[in-house]
C-alpha cells in the first residue's frame, strides 16, 4: 500500500508554534535564571511568527491534510489570528502581575503556548480524534496553570475542582463521540455528516436513537467546557481561586476555541440533526442567562461576579447558534470576539489595580476609582457599559446582531427572554460604575502600571468604543469567515 507524505503547508503555524514551545522550554532552562524575561520575549515572538505564517498562507479555499484530520479554511484562519492577538494581550497584561508574585518562570509561558497550540488544533480539527486531542491539550495546560501557585490553598482547590469536573466533561464528550462512532462507523467529520444524512433519509430509527444519545452527551460535554448552565458550577470557584493572570487567560482565548469546537462538532459534523440540538441549546442558553445574571447580583467578589457574567454571556452566544443559519453563526462569532475583548480589558484592569501583597478582588476595591485615577475609571466605565450592552459601545451591537438572528429564525419569545435577562444583568455592571464615581475611595495607594500595560489598557478600552461606532468591519470579517467555511 502506497502512502503519500501529508502536505504540511496548511499546518505550518502549528508546527512553528510547537518548535517555539520547545525553544522556550530549553532557553528558560539554560538562561532563565539570569534573564527572567527571555521566555516572555520568545513567547511573544512565537505568537508574532504564527500570525505572520497564518496571514501569509491564508487563502479563501478549504484545504485538508493529514488524511483529512486537519482543515484549513477561512474560519480557522480568522479564529487563529484572533487567538494569537488575544494570547499576546494576555501575556502583556500578566507579565508584571506574575513577576510581582514570583510566578515569572518559563513554565507559565510554555504552558500558555501549549494551551494556544491546543486551541489551534481544536479550531482546525476535522476529525473527532483531533477535536478531542486539541481539547485535552488545552485543558491539561489550563489545569496546571491554575495550580501554578501551589502554596495557595485557594488556587490548589480551584485546580482540583477544575481538573475533576473537566475530566468528567471529557468523559461525557468521549462517550458521546463513541456513540456517534457506533452509529455511523466514521470519525471524520465530513463522513459523519454524510452518514447521518443517509440515516435520516433512510429513516432508520435505531441508528437515529443512538445518534441522539451521543448528541446529548456531546452537548453536555461542550457546555461544561463553555461553562453554560447547568454545567457551570466550576466556573465561579476557578475564577475566584486561580491567579488573576490565569483567569484572564482561561476567560479569553479558550472561548474562541470553544466556539470553533461547537461549529466543527455540532454545525459541521451533526448539522443534519439541527432540530435535535437546537432544543438542547435553547434550554442551555435560557438557563445560563437566568442563573448567570441572577447569581452575579449577589456576589461581592468581582472575579466571582465576572464568572457568572461569563456564564450569562455564553448563554447569549448560544442563542446565535440556536438560530442555525449563516447569519446566526456569524453573529455568535462576533459576539464571542467582542466578549473576549471586553474580558481582556476588565481583567487587565483588575490586575492593574492589584499590587504586591494586595489583590483587587472585592467589588469595593473599585470604590472611588475616579478620584484615584479618572482615566482608568473612564476605561472601566466603557468596559462595564459595553458588557451591559449600552449603545454606542460594541457590546450593544454584539447583542443586537444575535437578537436579529434569533428574530429572523422566528423565536420571538427567546429574544424577549434574552432582553429581559440582559436588563437584569445591567444592574451589577452599573453598580460598579456607581461605586467608581459616587463613592469615597477606601485607599489612596497610587496606581503605577508599566508603560506597555498603560498603553494596552487604554487601547483596549478605546477599541470597545471604536468598534461600537464602526462595527461593520469586524462584523464583515466574521460573516466572511463563516460564509467561506460553510
Amino acid at each position: 500500500m502506497n502512502f503519500l507524505p501529508p502536505d504540511l503547508a496548511p499546518a505550518y503555524p502549528e508546527i512553528f508554534l510547537l518548535v517555539m514551545v520547545c525553544v522556550v522550554l530549553l532557553a528558560d532552562l539554560v538562561a532563565g535564571a539570569k534573564r527572567p524575561y527571555l521566555a516572555y520575549m520568545l513567547a511573544q515572538g512565537a505568537l508574532f511568527g504564527c500570525a505572520l505564517i497564518t496571514l501569509g498562507t491564508s487563502t479563501s479555499d478549504v484545504s485538508y491534510t493529514f488524511s483529512g484530520m486537519f482543515v484549513d479554511d477561512a474560519m480557522a484562519d480568522t479564529l487563529k489570528l484572533l487567538t494569537y492577538v488575544t494570547v499576546a494581550m494576555v501575556l502583556v497584561y500578566s507579565r508584571s502581575y506574575i513577576a510581582v508574585r514570583g510566578m515569572l518562570n518559563g513554565e507559565f509561558f510554555s504552558l500558555t503556548l501549549f494551551a494556544t497550540l491546543g486551541m489551534m488544533v481544536m479550531i482546525s480539527a476535522s476529525h473527532f480524534l483531533t477535536l478531542y486531542l486539541g481539547l485535552e491539550l488545552l485543558s491539561l495546560s489550563l489545569y496546571a496553570m491554575v495550580a501554578l501557585r501551589r502554596d495557595s490553598v485557594e488556587a490548589t482547590e480551584a485546580a482540583m475542582k477544575y481538573f475533576v469536573l473537566g475530566a468528567l466533561a471529557s468523559g461525557f464528550l468521549l462517550y458521546g463521540m463513541s456513540m456517534v462512532y457506533g452509529a455511523t462507523g466514521e470519525l471524520n467529520i465530513g463522513k459523519v455528516t454524510e452518514v447521518i444524512r443517509n440515516v435520516i433519509q433512510g429513516g432508520d430509527i435505531d441508528d437515529y436513537a443512538v445518534l441522539v444519545v451521543g448528541l446529548v452527551f456531546i452537548v453536555a460535554g461542550i457546555s461544561f467546557k463553555l461553562s453554560a448552565a447547568p454545567f457551570h458550577m466550576w466556573a465561579p470557584d476557578v475564577y475566584q481561586g486561580a491567579p488573576t493572570a490565569v483567569v484572564l487567560f482561561i476567560g479569553s482565548a479558550p472561548k474562541l476555541a470553544a466556539f470553533g469546537f461547537v461549529m466543527r462538532l455540532l454545525v459541521e459534523g451533526m448539522g443534519a440533526m439541527v432540530a435535535d440540538w437546537q432544543g438542547m441549546l435553547m434550554i442551555l442558553a435560557v438557563m445560563s442567562m437566568m442563573i448567570g445574571n441572577l447569581a452575579a447580583i449577589a456576589q461581592t467578589n468581582i472575579k466571582r461576579m465576572l464568572a457568572y457574567s461569563t456564564i450569562s454571556h455564553m448563554g447569549f452566544m448560544l442563542l446565535g447558534i440556536v438560530s442555525a443559519d449563516g447569519n446566526g453563526y456569524s453573529s455568535s462569532m462576533f459576539y464571542i470576539v467582542i466578549y473576549v475583548l471586553m474580558t481582556l480589558g476588565i481583567f487587565g484592569m483588575i490586575m492593574l489595580l492589584s499590587r504586591e501583597g494586595f489583590e483587587a478582588e472585592r467589588i469595593d476595591d473599585f470604590k472611588g476609582l475616579n478620584r484615584r485615577n479618572p482615566w482608568y475609571a473612564f476605561i472601566t466605565l466603557l468596559l462595564m457599559f459595553s458588557l451591559a450592552g449600552v449603545p454606542p459601545l460594541v457590546g450593544f451591537y454584539a447583542k443586537l446582531s444575535v437578537l436579529q438572528a434569533v428574530l429572523n429564525a422566528g423565536y420571538v419569545w427567546l429574544a424577549v427572554v434574552a432582553v429581559l435577562f440582559s436588563l437584569i444583568g445591567a444592574f451589577y455592571y452599573l453598580r460598579i460604575i456607581k461605586l467608581m464615581y459616587f463613592d469615597e475611595p477606601e485607599t489612596d495607594a497610587p496606581i503605577v502600571p508599566p508603560g506597555d500595560i498603560k498603553l494596552l489598557i487604554s487601547a483596549n478600552g478605546l477599541a470597545v468604543l471604536a468598534f461600537g461606532l464602526f462595527p461593520q468591519s469586524l462584523m464583515a470579517m466574521c460573516a466572511y469567515a463563516i460564509q467561506q467555511s460553510m
Binding site: F66, M69, N105, F114, L129, T130, L137, D206, A209, V213
Partner: protein, 201 residues
Amino acid sequence: MDFQSITFYFFATVLVASALGVITARNPVHAALLLVLAFFTCAGLWLLLQAEFLAITLVLVYVGAVMVLFLFVVMMLDINLDRMREGFWKWFPFGALLALVMLAEISMVLMGRKFSADQIPTPPLRAADYSNTKELGRLIYTEYVYAFELAAVILLVAIVAAIALTLRRRVGPRFMEPSEQVKVKRSDRVRMVSMPSEKKE
C-alpha cells in the same frame, strides 16, 4: 456452545464482577487489585477479538506500570475511609435515582437492534503471517500521524506540568561541599587567641 463462547462468557463475568468490586470495595488496596484483575480479563477479551498487540500492551502498560504505581500511591497515602464515606448515604437516594433513569434510557437505546450480536460482523479470519502489530504501526505512522504527534505533545505537557507543580528548590538546606571541605586549612577553623594569664590571688 463452542470454546470461544465459553471463554467469552467466563472473561465477561469476571470482568463485570471485578469492575463492581472496584467501586464497592472498602479497602482502596483491594479496589486497586480488583482493577488489575479487570484489566487482565479485558485483555483476554481483546485477545478473543484477535487484537493481540493491544491486549499485551494493556497488560504491560496498565497492569505492569500504571497500576503498580497506583498501588504504591494508595499504600503511601493515609486515606481516612470514614471521612470519604461521609455524606454517602445522604446523597445515595438522589444519585441512585439519577443513575437508574440514565441506565434505563441508555439501555433502551443500546439493547436495540443496532447493537445486537447479529448486527455486528464477525472479524474476518486472517492468514497466519498477518501481523496486527505491523498494521497498527503502519496506521499510526501514516494515516494517524497527526493524532499520534498530538498525543506526544500532551505527554510533554504532562511532564512540564508535573515538574512545574512538584519541583521545589528548598530554601536554606544544609549540605556539605566535599571540594570545599578538603581545601580547609587550620587557620579557617581554629582561631588563636592570646590572653594574658591571670594571677592567682
